[in-house]
């Protein structure tokens, strides 16, 4: 077993343990953190495939951004854990059936007869200064420009959806517009009134 293989098995083990932790942890925060660890181990495995850009982007986007949102949601919603567990036994049969179907599907598709070394030649190892990111950039913005623009539209939909779902404008809140504050002139605030001097009381 080479060193790389050892690293692969170590990270695979971490990944599977963490993934099990996601679904078995009682505390939702613990399971969110296990998911973080799962992503991290996955990223290490992608790195072993020499997909450095994707591996680091996985950490950047999923660990650095998506999981932050998950944690926000999970930490602040007061989830009643005992009530959530009530229905557990009732749904177990469904859960097992669906899990089995998924496993069978995965075995059918991701088996060695479809993705084995007979189907694909082993990819060559790249030299040390090979830039995976450059390769990716060269095709992403030329050959795959159409899916790339569709990604933009999907992100736009996400922005609009997020805002329309969560925006609540409260009428009583007060805002400041620093632009207006800076633009204020003396004339807007100050009025010089000429008054007759009062006569001194006699």
């Amino acid at each position: 077993m080479s060193f790389t293989e050892g690293v692969f098995y170590a990270f695979s083990a971490i990944m599977i343990m963490a993934a099990l932790g996601v679904i078995t942890a009682r505390n939702p925060v613990h399971s969110a953190l296990s998911l973080v660890l799962t992503f991290f181990a996955t990223s290490a495995i992608w790195m072993l495939l020499e997909a450095e850009f994707l591996a680091i982007t996985l950490v950047l986007v999923y660990v650095g951004a998506v999981m932050v949102l998950f944690l926000f949601v999970v930490m602040m919603l007061d989830i009643n854990i005992t009530r959530m567990r009530e229905g557990f036994m009732r749904y177990v049969p469904f859960g097992i059936v669906i899990a089995l179907i998924l496993v069978v599907q995965m075995v059918m598709i991701v088996g060695p007869e479809n993705f084995g070394l007979e189907q694909f030649a082993e990819p060559a190892r790249h030299v040390a200064d090979h830039s995976n990111t450059k390769e990716l950039g060269r095709v992403l913005y030329t050959d795959y420009v159409y899916p790339f623009e569709i990604a933009a539209v999907i992100l736009l939909v996400a922005i609009v959806a997020a805002i329309s779902l969560t925006m609540r404008r409260r009428p009583e809140t007060k805002y400041q517009t620093p632009g207006k504050q800076v633009m204020v002139k003396k004339e807007d605030r100050l009025r010089v009134v000429s008054m007759k001097a009062e006569e001194k009381e006699k």
Binding site: F53, L69, D78, G137, Y141, I159, V160, I163, T166, M167
Partner: protein
């Protein structure tokens, strides 16, 4: 390529180990441990804590987190583009122009809707 990342992996492990060693050394070996009920209560200006601290909070924080994910993805798309700009030239600029243009529409929308306002 992988040989370049080996030191990085070792460095991460070392970082965790250093943190662990410092806390174990400082917290459990060198330092005294004399817990008592008053000392171990959460800080609330000397009062008894009123209620659980894990309160619900403004939905705005979720909105910020969602917008952050979207913009982070945008950055992830910009990175490979920026380094191959010399190769793909004008076509690349137009492609990214459309991409960013669409997202700037979203940005203007959130600005006008007031999603970026804090009071």
């Amino acid at each position: 390529m992988l040989e370049n990342y080996l030191p990085v992996l070792i460095f991460m492990c070392m970082g965790l180990i250093v943190g662990l060693v410092m806390i174990v050394l400082g917290g459990f070996i060198l330092a005294p441990r004399k817990p008592d009920a008053e000392k171990n209560s959460p800080y609330e200006c000397g009062f008894e804590a009123f209620e659980d601290a894990r309160l619900k909070f403004d939905i705005r924080y979720y909105l910020v987190a969602i917008l952050f994910i979207i913009f982070d993805l945008e950055i992830a798309f910009l990175f490979p583009w920026a380094i191959v700009l010399d190769d793909i030239g004008l076509f690349g600029i137009v492609a990214m122009g459309i991409f960013l243009g669409i997202l700037v529409i979203g940005f203007i929308y959130e600005w006008k809707k007031g999603a970026l306002e804090w009071e």
